[in-house]
Symmetry: C2
Amino acid sequence: MTTAHGDVQTPAFMPVGTQGAVKAVTHRDLESLGAEILLSNTYHLYLRPGADLIARRGGLHAFMGWSRPILTDSGGYQVFSLAARRTIDEDGARFRSHLDGSEHLLTPENVADIQAKLGSDVAMVFDECVAHPAEADAVRKSMERTLRWARRARERFVALQSGQVRDVIVTNPGQAQFGIVQGGVYPDLREESARGTVALGFEAYAIGGLSVGEPNETMYNVVGQTTPYLPDDRPRYLMGAGTPEDLVEAVARGVDLFDCVLPTRNARNGQLFTSEGVLNIKNARYAEDERPPDPACGCYTCRTYSRAYLRHLFHAKEMGASTLNTLHNLHFYLDTLSRIRDAIAFGRFEHFRLAFRQDLSRRLLDS
Amino acid sequence: MTTAHGDVQTPAFMPVGTQGAVKAVTHRDLESLGAEILLSNTYHLYLRPGADLIARRGGLHAFMGWSRPILTDSGGYQVFSLAARRTIDEDGARFRSHLDGSEHLLTPENVADIQAKLGSDVAMVFDECVAHPAEADAVRKSMERTLRWARRARERFVALQSGQVRDVIVTNPGQAQFGIVQGGVYPDLREESARGTVALGFEAYAIGGLSVGEPNETMYNVVGQTTPYLPDDRPRYLMGAGTPEDLVEAVARGVDLFDCVLPTRNARNGQLFTSEGVLNIKNARYAEDERPPDPACGCYTCRTYSRAYLRHLFHAKEMGASTLNTLHNLHFYLDTLSRIRDAIAFGRFEHFRLAFRQDLSRRLLDS
């Protein structure tokens, strides 16, 4: 994937930097882990420190001091999951900030504006999220609204990028905009959404509304039923997924791009992804365990620290616990994607997938 | 200073790793900042994860994964400042843990045992701390008790190191033990304490009971009145000090070793030490300030991040704020010591000291 701030080898995993920072690690950590692109959250940055402030500082890359690609989500999911007193109508979403209770309105147009100010390399359209499970009727209505919003978002994006919007600072003239396919777990709605979204002509496309509580197999099926309707010369992005197994299975179904808080959030809760399954570092059984979290892993944490020490740091509430666990989990995710890319290049992906499922997933379920 | 885990260039500053970790940074950060020795807290490690556990893991170096020198304090100050329901008699200090309320007794002998298990390169004797201000009479009583405790601690240390104590695992056969001079702000008591402590024959000596609220000039005077009684072929350690100015002034009076939580704790509170004075990163004036914290500084934080971004991270309660601020403050302290060593080597220390006072201290007081 080519962006205004450089290329991204796909399939790729994007560490999540919600507020313009990946929690508990620094940019140089991310660079040395091989992260080629970060995700940051439009909703959070809009509320604090504000898109205008970031635009005045030259955009999010300059503000953060991060020179590699950035994708910003649309804020739709955060409005759905975080904001208070949310009301959604055809215009957009009205809500109160989870920080200070202040009133806000996000629309397809002003979300495009905010992202133009942020200057991310990939801007996501503003979509409507529905709870899972939901009846086909409600999902259809929401999917159709998301389509209408996508048209408005695209028109605004084109106007912004062609310099027709005078009062918005466009900090990244090479920004791309991705459409989002909705439609819940209903194949016919997914097909309709995909066809409609592709017809609007975005730079690339994402699959939204999954990894929200549906069974794994349902997610894999929906992904497999949706990707055929998305152009195969453009990256396909599965939003918010998932476990290591989810990534492998989605790649098998044609997905190129992922983001998920799982490796970073679980790290802060003491849960480590390893080649032998999930390890809860807080468990008493590790109190005197001299082994690294994953003896097969080459990350800084595994090269330097024992389970016993990491358990001590966790129980002592040392910030270093979060940092070292996050370094490991991000390494595990980024390394898994790297091995997937190698397997694809050598025509051995199906072999890799089978071995991965057998080795890891079963133990993941056991632990 | 030569230790069982390598040499330390003096004068040196020891970052404080209370629970076996310097808060918010990793060992590789400390190594690349040039930290040659860490301080860790006997009191905290004794309570959690426990000295026996650490001894079974091969000592604190192996447990932490840190191969450079470590000094452990005696726990005296923590018993004084943290523990609940503390009662002190000639035997030692009885107290309840600040973690779980459990009852403990620390004595000169068992503190030496705990440190033998930890295997630090330098073990401090268990001393009694008095509040400041205190009358000469109370300070004399406490100083005399500290001297009696020092004799007991030394006897135990010699027995431990010569293999006469069967039930304690000595994890570092090259451990050194430092005595501690007390005596408050009273020159005659300091002299008496110094002479008595030196007579016991420790590997080196520390000045305790300062940096506890007395005026700067008082501290400088006491240091200047005490160091002449300490052997000049052994490092002299001023415990718990201090500001950058304190370090320069103490070096001028013959001090070689420092530890202080100021650079790390203040970093977590958003206070940065710079060549132009103290900078409170949370202030609104930095919201759009593109400059690094200290334009004259070469640390990772200053090379990469703006005040505006660091202020955002602080207000967004991102852990990265603590990490980046700590990296900067430790760099400032370690770099100041490095410049002091260079100045001494080139016979220009008095010139350095004068320039430092004029440049920095005045602005520190102004800010």
